[in-house]
């Protein structure tokens, strides 16, 4: 089964950066309403507005939760421009599994959450 690689399953069973931050600069949420997938993401910024730390809590399929875990690892130290430039293809290659169109929205849930942290509405930096 190609989709459920060891990487995906490992991140799903032992996700990185889970929980909440003691004093987050922003708190965002992203949902796949049709699947019932959910991610809530805390983020703290450096003085220059880059990502200092993230933490998430979520529920949903393996792909959505593992995807957020993988993106959390990647995101530390990244700037607003890095996040803005992050594409669907980038996420797919980070996940590394072939993803069918029906499962794409699961894989991209974490990307949606990351993009939200720099939305003016949420940001105080």
């Amino acid at each position: 089964m190609d989709l459920y690689t060891e990487t995906i399953l490992d991140h799903y069973e032992h996700p990185h950066h889970t929980g909440t931050l003691a004093s987050p600069d922003v708190h965002v949420a992203e949902y796949n309403l049709l699947c019932g997938d959910r991610i809530e993401l805390d983020c703290a910024f450096t003085n220059k507005g880059a990502i200092a730390d993230v933490a998430f809590v979520g529920s949903g399929c393996a792909l959505s939760q593992a995807g957020m875990s993988i993106l959390s690892d990647w995101s530390i130290g990244k700037s607003r421009n890095d996040i803005a430039a992050l594409s669907h293809d980038d996420v797919q290659s980070m996940i590394g599994s072939p993803i069918t169109p029906a499962r794409l929205k699961c894989a991209l849930l974490g990307l949606g959450a990351l993009k939200r942290i720099y939305e003016p509405y949420h940001s105080n930096s």
Binding site: L9, E13, C35, G36, T100, R103
Partner: protein, 408 residues
């Protein structure tokens, strides 16, 4: 043709999915089509294609005759008194919208009560939400009991002289619950309410008799009962149907037209504006005849055997929760502790097994069940005990991939 050998009548079962023979357990979404239906479709386009109710040439007469022959078959199939009680639409959803927009628009007033059951598919919920909003009427929900049946005591309390329509399905598309239709309809009529029945899940799976059921409106789709997509049916008691204003306006639904006004045809043609889905309606007749040849009672008991086998197979897994109302038919909904239904469905698909996962177009019902989403196996006449066994193996694979023991 017998139910034991029926799979070979369906060409799609020669397909392989991910290298495995197709095991199709998503029949509550749509059914597969037998050669008889595919041949009828090709035959119509090859020999009789023309527009209906218009020409006096041979092809138009033949097309009209074949289109109207399906109307008669449908009436016979659900035991409607006359073929004129059958309206063709594009799907079950459109049939229900037709009732909400015509009967509902004319009959619902501020403060009236509309009752919908907790089991409803979005198709028999949202049209009534909209109607209630526009008319300042009140929408009430007939709740579920803890055993996933409709709560008849609560229903009795909700019913009153203010109730103008009760909207209820013959069978839940998610958990298979079959409400007591005759009892519910009798009680609704006793307070002067009409009853809108969504028959989409049951009409291809059990004998339907709209007269003995006593419903005012009964909606369903051809595609869930071996027929083509794009054909819906609305049955309505003719005494009601003939009083309703048209739903859509244009060609074919008129008897005479002047620049400023038009005279509309009698029901049911008044509700079929524009060129209808002629070929698919024609081919739908072959689906009905196919079902009649097998026999609806045979199909119902075959479904029941599949459901019993599936429930038994799932009962072997402690981590699996099965939603099994006593009245449940044709499908088995389940969740796997610790694994999202989309992951379950993806792994089933890798074994060639098609199941549905998610909210099943019944989001409020899934919330009532207390789960974020669920998986569903739904059966039909071509499914076999072997299919259930393959599904069971697929479930074992789910546990293997996620390194969970199936019985913690």
């Amino acid at each position: 043709m017998t139910i034991e050998t029926i799979k070979k009548e369906f060409p799609i079962f020669s397909r392989r999915i991910n290298g495995k023979p197709l095991v199709y357990l998503d029949n509550a979404s749509t059914s597969q089509k037998p050669s008889a239906v595919l041949d009828a479709l090709t035959n119509f386009y090859t020999t009789s294609n023309a527009n209906i109710h218009r020409g006096i040439h041979t092809l138009s007469e033949e097309a009209t005759e074949r289109y109207e022959a399906t109307r008669k078959s449908v009436a016979r199939f659900i035991n409607a008194a006359v073929a004129e009680e059958i309206v063709f639409t594009k799907n079950c959803t459109e049939s229900i919208n037709l009732v909400a927009r015509t009967w509902g628009h004319a009959s619902i007033r501020r403060g009236d009560h509309i009752l919908v059951s907790a089991l409803e598919h979005h198709a028999n919920l949202i049209p009534w939400q909209e109607l209630a909003r526009k008319k300042h009427a009140k929408l009430f929900v007939i709740p579920l009991t803890s055993s996933f049946e409709l709560d008849m005591e609560a229903y009795d309390k909700l019913l009153s002289r203010k109730t103008k329509i009760v909207c209820v399905t013959t069978q839940s598309n998610v958990i298979g619950t079959r409400p007591p239709m005759k009892e519910m309809i009798k009680k609704a009529h006793a307070v002067g309410a009409r009853v809108m029945v969504d028959g989409a899940q049951s009409v291809g799976h059990q004998r339907t008799d709209v007269v003995s059921m006593g419903c005012d409106f009964f909606a369903f789709s051809a595609h869930k009962m071996l027929g083509p997509t794009g054909v819906g049916v609305l049955y309505a008691d003719y005494d009601i149907l003939e009083t309703l204003q048209p739903f859509l306006y244009g060609g074919d639904m008129v008897t005479s037209v002047e620049r400023e006004h038009a005279v509309y045809r009698d029901a049911p043609w008044r509700f079929e504006a524009g060129t209808p889905n002629i070929a698919d309606v024609v081919a739908f007749r072959a689906a009905i005849e196919f079902l009649e040849e097998i026999g609806m009672d045979t199909i119902e008991s075959h479904d029941a055997r599949c459901v019993a086998a599936a429930r038994e197979a799932l009962a072997g897994f402690a981590r699996v929760r099965v939603f099994a109302p006593e009245s449940g038919a044709s499908c088995v909904a389940f969740t796997v502790d610790g694994i999202h239904p989309h992951d379950v469905a993806t792994i089933f698909n890798s074994e060639g097994v098609a199941i549905r996962s998610g909210l099943h177009c019944a989001e409020p019902l899934v919330k009532d069940l207390g789960v974020p989403a669920l998986s569903r196996m739904s059966f039909y006449l071509y499914n076999t005990m072997e299919d259930v066994a393959v599904a069971r193996q697929a479930l074992e694979k789910v546990f293997r991939i996620f390194s969970l023991t199936s019985n913690p």
